[in-house]
């Protein structure tokens, strides 16, 4: 009985360790981002280069990905918090139709641009192997932070990391 309980405890501990919270970490790859030029939901083409001078969170996601959905509202709040301080979010949807994305946005509305990567071109160029994956590009166009997996974008430590890349608050 005791042996069984011990086994169960070890298994549960391993399960917790395996689930592991994802942390927004300093990016260790080539800091020069791959090209990102995709059609937005409204039909306009957006390029990462258009955002030079701003800190940009590039998020790769899909409507069928539960962690992607879960982090979306906190990403919207981060967008609202720093929008006037030179911060932007570009959410790159992976391979879904415009109708699927629009239907999702009626349930989880966001005000940042949604880009459509229908053929996975950006996904491969940015070496995205898990959803969601997020990169934070600084005002000089260099990738500074990255993470795969769900992030609580309301978390103070996450906000502090983003804020450290932004110009000082004039207020």
């Amino acid at each position: 009985m005791i042996h069984r309980a011990l086994c169960l405890t070890v298994v549960l501990m391993l399960a917790v360790a395996d689930a592991g919270a994802r942390e927004l970490k300093p990016y260790t790859g080539d800091p020069r981002p791959a090209p990102l030029s995709l059609r937005e939901l409204n039909g306009d083409t957006r390029q990462l280069a258009d955002f030079r001078g701003r800190v940009v969170l590039v998020n790769f996601w899909a409507t069928w990905c539960p962690p992607c959905i879960k982090e979306m509202p906190s990403m919207q709040r981060l967008h609202e918090r720093f929008a006037e301080r030179g911060f932007a979010v570009l959410a790159v949807n992976m391979g879904e139709t415009e109708a699927e994305v629009r239907a999702f946005l009626t349930r989880v509305p966001v005000s940042f641009p949604i880009l459509l990567d229908a053929d996975g071109v950006a996904l491969k160029a940015w070496k995205v192997f898990a959803f969601p994956t997020s990169y934070v590009v600084d005002a000089d166009g260099r990738i500074r932070l990255a993470v795969f997996g769900e992030v609580d974008w309301d978390a103070p430590e996450v906000i502090a990391k983003i804020e450290a890349l932004l110009p000082a608050d004039p207020r």
Binding site: G29, A62, W64, K127, F129, Y135, A146, F148
Partner: protein, 283 residues
């Protein structure tokens, strides 16, 4: 024709025979017929093998692997190995569906045999020798050709075991190949911006493989790259993309209608994949 269908025909036939008007000479013996029928029903096991039985196979000293067997009459035996999700209930339904198509299905609980948890990390702890021993016993006991099946990270121990088995049985054709559901053969999930690296056994494998890859998956975008890696060892690899479903669709608690529908179709999809392994046809 699937054996389950062919075996239903005699049952329908005797029912029709019972309802047919009885010749006058035979009217004297209705109770005898009913008695014989009752005896047959009690004494004869169901022709369609829809019930599972448990066996234990010793794969190493002191290591017994519980195996759930769905017997069937055909010449193929599916040896289903666990993934990081362990043994899912959805897989039991697929095994039953395979047996109904004449494909014997053995689900081996390699994790509990080694007291391993159903976790990603456990997939690296399954000894290749355990899998090789299972293949040996499955082929030896049944006399059938074995097809390995697993999902996700279960593809790693599957390939490692197949390599060990192949080294021991270089001239045998008892191992037909593998059907891999959304195989994940990455050394680890690559950090953002880093290139993916595959487990070394991916390039060493010479197994014939059919990959069933849902398109609502990050793995979907790289499946051709994985297929090329698996072909480096000389095996023929084909990829079937599954539209509108996610990885683990056959046992997801939050399955969509499309996923539930495809899960019901999975035995037929696996049967078709096995046929491709037998004929060497591309889809």
């Amino acid at each position: 024709m699937a054996s389950g269908e062919s075996m239903n025909i005699p049952r329908d036939q005797w029912w029709r025979d019972l309802r047919r008007p009885t010749p006058a000479g035979a009217r004297a013996a209705p109770s005898l017929m009913a008695g014989l029928l009752l005896s047959w029903l009690v004494a004869t096991p169901p022709a369609f093998a829809d019930s599972a039985r448990q066996i234990e196979l010793r794969v190493a000293a002191g290591v017994e692997v519980p195996v759930t067997v769905r017997a069937a009459a055909g010449g193929i035996l599916v040896l289903w190995l666990p993934s990081e999700a362990g043994q899912a209930e959805g897989e039991a339904r697929v095994a039953a569906g395979l047996a109904a198509r004449g494909i014997e299905a053995w689900r081996a609980d390699l994790l509990s045999a080694r007291l391993l948890p159903a976790l990603r990390s456990a997939m690296h702890e399954i000894p290749a020798g355990d899998v090789a021993a299972l293949i040996e016993q499955a082929a030896g006991r049944s006399g059938k050709r074995v097809v390995l099946v697993s999902a996700g990270l279960g593809a790693g121990p599957l390939l490692r075991g197949a390599l060990v088995w192949r080294a021991r049985h270089a001239r045998s054709d008892a191992l037909l190949g593998a059907v891999l559901l959304h195989p994940n053969l990455y050394l680890g999930t690559p950090e953002p911006g880093k290139d993916a690296q595959y487990l070394p056994e991916a390039a060493r494998s010479d197994l014939g493989v059919v990959i069933l890859q849902p398109d609502r998956s990050p793995l979907h975008w790289y499946v051709d790259r994985l297929a090329a890696e698996l072909e480096r060892g000389g095996g023929r690899v084909t990829v079937e993309r599954l539209a509108g479903v996610r990885d683990r669709f056959h046992f997801r608690p939050d399955a969509s209608a499309a996923e539930t529908a495809l899960a019901a179709e999975l035995p037929a999809r696996i049967a078709a994949a096995i046929e491709r392994l037998e004929t060497g046809r591309k889809p």
